[in-house]
Symmetry: D3
Subunit: 143 residues, 6 copies
């Protein structure tokens, strides 16, 4: 099994807030991340595809194709945006890193699986919210 990873970056504003809960609960739970005037991050995104290399090209997936899928599905929709208000596929989702990696995975999965060689598939999506805080969604076991 070979794992191929592409790193990307985007900048966005967000706020952690659960609208079904009280203001008090939100302030206590999310602290300064609940600031109603927003804050933001330089997000680093790592998308990993697992599988076998095509013997003709030596590629699990053409990283140029992978880059275009990530641009279309994630970066064009999220870069310099407000993740709570402006990204349709994040509607109703509290934009924690945990929820973002899961949503990004679902957004990317079909296109990547169609594009990668043979039975290669989207393996994981990892997001650095800051250099110190990281989340990864990896629904398939290592084989």
């Amino acid at each position: 099994m070979i794992y191929v990873t592409r790193k990307s970056h985007f900048n966005a504003a967000h706020r952690l807030h659960n609208p079904s809960k009280s203001e008090e609960w939100n302030k206590k739970t999310f602290g300064k991340c609940n600031n109603p005037n927003w804050h933001g991050h330089n997000y680093q995104l790592e998308v990993t595809v697992a599988g076998e290399a095509d013997p003709d090209t030596g590629y699990v997936i053409d990283l140029s194709d992978l880059k275009h899928i990530i641009n279309d599905k994630i970066l064009d929709k999220c870069d310099h945006k407000n993740l709570n208000k402006e990204v349709p596929f994040l509607d109703g989702i509290i934009p924690t890193s945990e929820n973002l990696v899961k949503a990004f995975f679902q957004e990317l999965e079909d296109n990547i699986n169609e594009t990668a060689y043979g039975s290669s598939f989207l393996y994981s999506v990892k997001l650095f919210e800051t250099e110190r805080n990281i989340a990864e969604y990896c629904p398939n076991p290592r084989m």
Copy 2:
């Protein structure tokens, strides 16, 4: 001359917008950085003090003191905030990196100059808006 630098980080939302100009001018000039719903960054801040080392301590400035001044004057006011709306010393300033480093320098200068050893002084303030976009304010010539 010895130069001592302390790196810090903060996250904030901002928007580039000149309220004295038209919407059209702002959109054309600032592009996606003008998004009215905000975007944000993980800012990296580097503060450099220049001077001589105290022979008793070997310090140009105690980096623990420098850290506390940066926390009080910059990080507590900017971290997880909206730079356009919530930071009094940035009122009326378009929050480009260029304008931020100048404003941070003025905010830090007196406290640092009083705290550093002998005639040591605040030499420069550098800000990484992203890993690729950087501004530095350095009003004094190298001696």
Copy 3:
């Protein structure tokens, strides 16, 4: 399965030495790492928790809680210390990176498993002794 990681740093002195072996064996086995006058490192520590996100908060574990557990259990005991002489839970352990990650895991496990959401659990502890030398303890298989 979602994996959440928090990075931390600490500085410490150590020495690789097995007191049940001869001086000659120690010098030959550990080389310059056996220096009786100590040497030291800036350690980078990565703690990863695996599980499901709480639907109310979007958190596998509140990273602020995780940070406090790491501070209490590891950083307050190891930062600016001598790992051979001053850390009770490392008594009798040769402080190689391999032994440190295992000891840190055991020190962290109970508190993290109690604090994380639902059946989420401490998944791995990774330690960068230098930028080039890394050890990870990961006793549970990926699920």
Copy 4:
């Protein structure tokens, strides 16, 4: 299970080209990576060994031994070389990152498995072609 990783670096020239295909196919498939005048990279290589620590030394593998194996088997043969023309064990292989990690793994496996403690073994080889493009070969499942 403990995982020990050693990072190394080398610089090399390469070109992506499948000699059994037409010039047209190669240009279309590999784009600027097909440049007949070569291009090159600063490669970062991460070699990970998995297993148990020797109770006498606290080592899964002596990182100094691992460093020498990587130097002998990979760096001395690849550093400042042309990967298409000058590395015997890469003969006939299109030097994509995917193919390189597999070839490096096979080149390293016997020596590392003989040198590591007990039943510890070469677990994975990871290669950063650029900071953004990464491949890993990891044929064994996590245990």
Copy 5:
């Protein structure tokens, strides 16, 4: 004085060779960097512009304009190329980092000085050949 920096990356092949000297001199002087089959690097380029910020925009230079100038003048000509054979403005130049930063500076200077605000000007060009080997050309004194 405010200093604004933009980082970029490109990959290229090169070889250190002075055609006016003997093969023996070249081998002795440049060692493995003289390999006739080429080697290559991931170059990191930092371009710094110095001056005053435009009061209307808060910009010393629009970093989007700076990015386009660097792309046109340097990256489009050097990325995935052979620096000895394929870059017209490097003809006859031994591609050491020292010579590259000087040539890049001359290539960039006019366009940047015309585009930057007021009397702002190209201040320095810095090139990381590897993470450990760096050259900077900075012909103007700090003012």
Copy 6:
């Protein structure tokens, strides 16, 4: 003026302590850095040489020569050592970063000035004690 920089690394133990002052003064001044059982760091060292490039080689200084001087004069004496007890040229010096960069500069200056091309000279020595705490000694003005 061209500036050429070489980065190196070493690991060492140290302790901040002024033996001419009381224990109380030392504890109050240096805090946890005064720990009598030592602590340590992975130091990153950057040595910069300024001057003109030799037209025959394109080098301000052969970085391989510079590397050997840094190894001989600094790394062989400091790596895996106790900076307070085992480095003759640091005798009597409190090993703050400020004092270290000055001592390293004096140790390196003659050899580098003799080896560099023409009138090129040692320009600065910079030391990262941690990623966040940095000192630089730069006695000559930019020309």
